[in-house]
Subunit: 438 residues, 2 copies
């Protein structure tokens, strides 16, 4: 039997502790599957005394993560500290330079420094595996990096944040407001005390940036992502969408267009009959469209200690099964040196269908004015629903809901700005982009 | 740059021709992704003169597939002939014994001889990759074999046959009979002239047998699968299911129970709100439930030249990216020598919910008799729908539709047999098992 694969882990939060526990509990299964034992030989975390429910007795405790990163006693360095700068970055760099394989769940680090780190890994001939960084337990990185070799991807989109999907699912199912759902999610531990990072789409953007690089063989560019969160989605939107046969999901979307790559994170209407519309609660899902496959969709748990640990362990097992010193495929599917420059397509050129909800004075001629503004901007309409709002909400007001055929972001913005100038709106207009499966 | 990876392909039908064409068209992309060129150096097929729309000019033609399997001029042998015995089996064996990596899409061969072939491959230290054998372009083999390392699978189920799913989808959408849908599917090339193998569930069974081995680390046992096809599904079933909030799908299901492994292929009711219920037309889907992940679902194209070729090319790319002479994980996740014996759980012990549709005389007391038989067998009912059939279909008859809470196959069979003896049935009773997502 080959020697044990020696693991060093830094960061012993929920995921780190789960990895240590599962590697122990499942050691027989993993040894059988990998042909060699996997052994956690050293760990490092901030607080040595904290109770984590795991047995660290026969594992070396290293105070300094950087020392562990450079240790000759490990084969694989597992980084579960998180954060795009500071200690996480330093020790991943150190471990790679030292010739260790690295496994990380750190989306922020990779979204910012992934290409630079991949260059080091590829130069050193070691692996930098990051399945856990995107969509938790769903093996989307492996699917894109390995299974889709030879495919040209045209679009990738997904529900990449469980907190947002939980809130949007509950709003529809229970008819309760965004604020109430958020509070509930916080109580259940699905949302952080400061939920901004999830709710406003930044977490989704980090994950999308990695998928975009894998999909299109380009460098990672998280700063080029258009980001809009879900905090302004109202029950009125949710219900109007439902009535028209749509669900609202926070999607990260990356599309290859004639003018470049469009990366965007925003509330999105998807047809209720689509598979992704049925992805409920904290579950994540990713859809990948390619020339050879049409659409491939993966859904599963996007977070949680066990699910994320499963992805980390899958990454470790891949290393354990490999012959020491072998070469493997590039970190982002294409060698880091050969990743294409990122060419951004402007949001204003985005073409697609739009859902528009206007709260207007209940007066004669208002609808005609709205219709005229749409026509002026060459926007053709698929559905129109006009309905008085309940008296107890806003007396003498109407909700006009429009679904457009394919048009451009710039046309919709122009039309909405004219409508606002017309002065009939009582509230900010709502505009939600529509995404259709292939 | 490393030398080109030399490929020999036997079988140049739709998939084989697509592989040759795509490897040529995508050679730059694949070379970048794999770090070395992939080159088809030799092919073999029955008819050299057939027009396939591919350029074979610079590729050696070998008349005898066995000669190609043993050729020293190739690194990877790709078998796309099909069939569980005969030439496909001989040449895969020959290629493995000769130390070649093998890529195959042949589910029948693997369902029958997979373990024996895996033993040869593992002894020789070569890969036997078969992503294309199950669910076409969906990377379910890789997910189960690699990503789920350390997971204990409790159940795997899926829509594994596009023909059946196409027919069931059309029956509901268009309200047309099984026979008409089948004719339509044949016209569109989604069903064979002799559709028995697809329609009666045997194709699904072959694929399920492979998933079961991967899921539970046991030997493959295709003969232990309970198989029931879709040819007796009527529009009445489809509509009753719809009314009760279910869709009917032909599923292959493998479950670990206390008494052994249950492998079954049959029409199945799944809740309309589940993700798998929304998998339409020829699309396939596989759901895997594990202790660490909860549920993972993958959906995508289950057949077609390009999609299947994509899976074959993914398998080839994995070999191309590997260092020559490296060791890799076992063919079925667990080393072939260590696969557990198969222990079959009997269908009569199967526990679950059931949909039962009875066509009965429209007479007083019939329903009471039916209810009594259910009670006698300790079957509790979740829903009951009783409705007269349209006069022009069967005068003076009623449809009784029952959905049971969890019970056993054996109780349901006993109750139905008593009901048949009671003599009120006008038609064979219909019984469809219910499968719920986690």
């Amino acid at each position: 039997m080959v020697n044990a694969l020696r693991i060093g882990i830094v960061g012993l939060g929920t995921v780190g502790s789960s990895v240590v526990r599962i590697l122990k509990e499942k050691q027989d299964l993993l040894t059988k599957q990998c042909g060699r034992p996997i052994e956690v030989v050293a760990v490092s975390a901030r607080d040595r005394t904290r109770e984590r429910g795991i047995d660290l007795q026969h594992i070396e405790w290293v105070d300094d993560p950087l020392v562990l990163a450079a240790s000759d006693n490990i084969d694989v360095f597992v980084e579960l500290i998180g954060g795009e700068e500071g200690i996480a970055r330093f020790c991943v760099e150190e471990a790679l330079k030292h010739g260790h394989h690295v496994v990380t769940a750190n989306k922020a680090l990779l979204a910012r420094h992934g290409v630079a780190l991949a260059k080091i890994a590829e130069k050193k001939g070691v692996l930098l595996n990051f399945e856990a960084a995107v969509a938790g337990g769903i093996p989307v990185i492996k699917a894109m990096r390995e299974s889709l070799s030879g495919n040209n991807v045209s679009r990738v989109y997904g529900i990449l944040n469980g907190t947002c999907n939980y809130i949007l699912t509950r709003m529809l199912a229970e008819g309760i407001s965004f604020e109430e759902c958020l509070k509930e999610a916080q109580k259940l531990g699905y949302a952080e005390a400061d939920p901004t990072f999830d709710i406003e789409g930044f977490d989704t953007a980090h994950k999308l940036a990695l998928l975009t690089s894998l999909a299109f063989g380009c460098v990672i560019s998280v700063d080029d992502i258009y980001v809009e969160g879900i905090s302004n989605i109202s029950l009125a939107d949710i219900h109007a969408a439902d009535e028209l046969g749509y669900r609202i999901k926070l999607l990260g979307v990356a599309v290859k267009t004639d003018t470049g790559i469009e990366q965007r994170v925003h509330p999105t209407m998807v047809p209720t009959s689509s598979v992704i519309a049925q992805v409920q609660g904290v579950t994540n899902a990713v859809s990948i469209q390619t020339d050879l496959l049409g659409e491939l969709l993966l859904s599963g748990p996007g977070a949680g200690g066990n699910a994320t640990a499963s992805a980390v362990i899958g990454d470790i097992a891949d290393i354990a099964k490999s012959h020491p010193g072998f070469q493997h495929g590039p970190v982002f599917g294409t060698p880091a040196q050969a990743l294409a420059p990122y060419k951004r397509a402007r949001m204003r050129a985005h073409a697609g269908g739009y859902f528009i909800r206007l709260t207007v004075d209940d007066k004669i001629g208002v609808f005609a004015t709205v219709a005229k503004r749409m026509a002026e901007n060459s926007i053709s309409l698929e559905s129109i629903v006009q309905r008085p709002l309940a008296e107890n909400i806003q007396p003498n007001t109407k909700n006009i809901v429009l679904v457009t055929h394919e048009t451009t972001e710039s046309s919709v913005r122009k039309a909405l700005s004219s409508i606002m100038e017309d002065g009939h709106l009582i509230d900010k207009p709502q505009m939600i982009r529509i995404e259709r499966p292939n």
